[in-house]
C-alpha cells in the first residue's frame, strides 16, 4: 500500500495516467470530428461525451477537482443531453458522404498550420515560474469566486437567465 502510494505521489503513475487520458481524449476527439465508420451525429455526440470524460481525468491530474466534477456534470450531463435531444428531435439521417471540398481541405490545413505556428511561437516564450504546490483548491476556489469574482459571477448568472429567456423565445413555433 505504501509502495503504491509512493508510486502515485512519486509521479510515475501520474505520468502514465496523463498519457492514457491524453491519448483517450485525442482519440475520441478525432472520432468526433472524423469518424471513418459512421457519419451519424449521434456517434459524434457519444464520442464527445467520452472526450469530455477523459478530459475531466486530465483535470483531476491537474488537481482541479471541482472543475473535473463540473465538467462531467455540466458537459457530459447537461450539455450532451441537450445535444442528443436536439439530434433526436431533428431526426437527422446519417450524413451523406459528400466529396470533401478541396477548398475546405485547404482552408482547414492552412488554419491548422497557422494555429500550429502561433502555438510553437508562443511555446517559446513560456517560462515556468514555480513547482505546482496548490492544495485544497476547491475551498480556495469557492472563496475566490465569492469575493474577488462576485461581480462576474452575478453577471454570469444574469447571462444564464437571459439565455433561458432567449431560448424560450426562439423555440416558440412562430418566430416573427
Amino acid at each position: 500500500m505504501e509502495a503504491i502510494n509512493n508510486l502515485i505521489s512519486g509521479g510515475v503513475v501520474q505520468d502514465i495516467m496523463f498519457y492514457v487520458f491524453a491519448a483517450l481524449t485525442l482519440l475520441c476527439a478525432i472520432l468526433v470530428v472524423a469518424n471513418p465508420f459512421s457519419r451519424s451525429p449521434v456517434t459524434s455526440a457519444m464520442f464527445l461525451v467520452l472526450t469530455i470524460i477523459s478530459m475531466s481525468g486530465l483535470f483531476l491530474l491537474l488537481h482541479a477537482f471541482f472543475l473535473a466534477a463540473v465538467q462531467i456534470l455540466v458537459y457530459a450531463g447537461a450539455v450532451m443531453v441537450l445535444f442528443l435531444f436536439v439530434i433526436m428531435l431533428l431526426d437527422l439521417k446519417e450524413e451523406q458522404r459528400r466529396k470533401i471540398k478541396f477548398f475546405g481541405l485547404a482552408a482547414g490545413l492552412v488554419s491548422v498550420s497557422i494555429v500550429a505556428g502561433i502555438f510553437i511561437k508562443s511555446l517559446a516564450s513560456i517560462k515556468l515560474t514555480a513547482e505546482p504546490a496548490l492544495e485544497g483548491e476547491t475551498y480556495v476556489l469557492g472563496k475566490l469566486l465569492f469575493t474577488q469574482y462576485t461581480l462576474p459571477f452575478e453577471i454570469i448568472s444574469i447571462l444564464l437567465l437571459v439565455a433561458m429567456v432567449g431560448v424560450i423565445l426562439l423555440s416558440k413555433k412562430k418566430l416573427e
Binding site: F18, Y19, A22, L26, A29, I30, V32, V33, A34, S44, A45, L48, M55, L58, F59, L62, H63, A64, F66, L67, Q71, V74, Y75, A78, V79, L82, F83, V86, L89, L90, L92, E95, L105, G108, S111, V112, V115, A116, F119, L123, I126, L128, A130, P132, L134, E137, V140, L141, L145, Y149, I156, L159, L160, V162, M164, G166, V167, L170, S171, L175
Partner: protein, 101 residues
C-alpha cells in the same frame, strides 16, 4: 520524461486543431457545433494547466465561467439550429447559404 506544462499544452493544441478542422470541414451544423465545444474544452485545458503550473487559481475561475457561458451558448445555439431547421428542413451548412455572388 516528466509530464510538464508543455505536454498539457500540446494536448490542448491538438484538441483545438481538431475542433478547428471540424468547424471548417464538416458540413453538419450539429457536428460543427460539437467541434466548437471541443475548441472550448481545449482552451479550458490550457487554462487549467496554466493555473496549475503558475500556482494561481484565477485560471480555474475563468474556466468555471467558460463552462457556464458554454452551457448558455449551447442552449441558445441549439435553439437557433432548431429554428433554422424548421425553416429550411436541413442542418447542412451549404444549404443555408442565401447570398448570391
Amino acid at each position: 520524461m516528466h509530464v510538464s506544462l508543455h505536454h498539457y499544452l500540446f494536448v490542448s493544441f491538438m484538441l483545438f486543431s481538431l475542433g478547428l478542422l471540424g468547424v471548417i470541414m464538416r458540413r453538419n451544423l450539429l457536428v460543427i457545433y460539437m467541434s466548437l465545444e471541443l475548441m472550448l474544452n481545449a482552451a479550458n485545458l490550457a487554462l487549467v494547466s496554466f493555473s496549475r503550473f503558475n500556482n494561481k487559481l484565477d485560471g480555474q475561475v475563468l474556466v468555471f465561467f467558460i463552462i457556464t457561458v458554454a452551457a448558455a451558448e449551447v442552449a441558445v445555439g441549439l435553439a437557433l439550429i432548431v429554428a433554422l431547421f424548421r425553416k429550411r428542413q436541413s442542418a447542412h451548412v451549404e444549404d443555408l447559404t442565401s447570398m448570391k455572388l
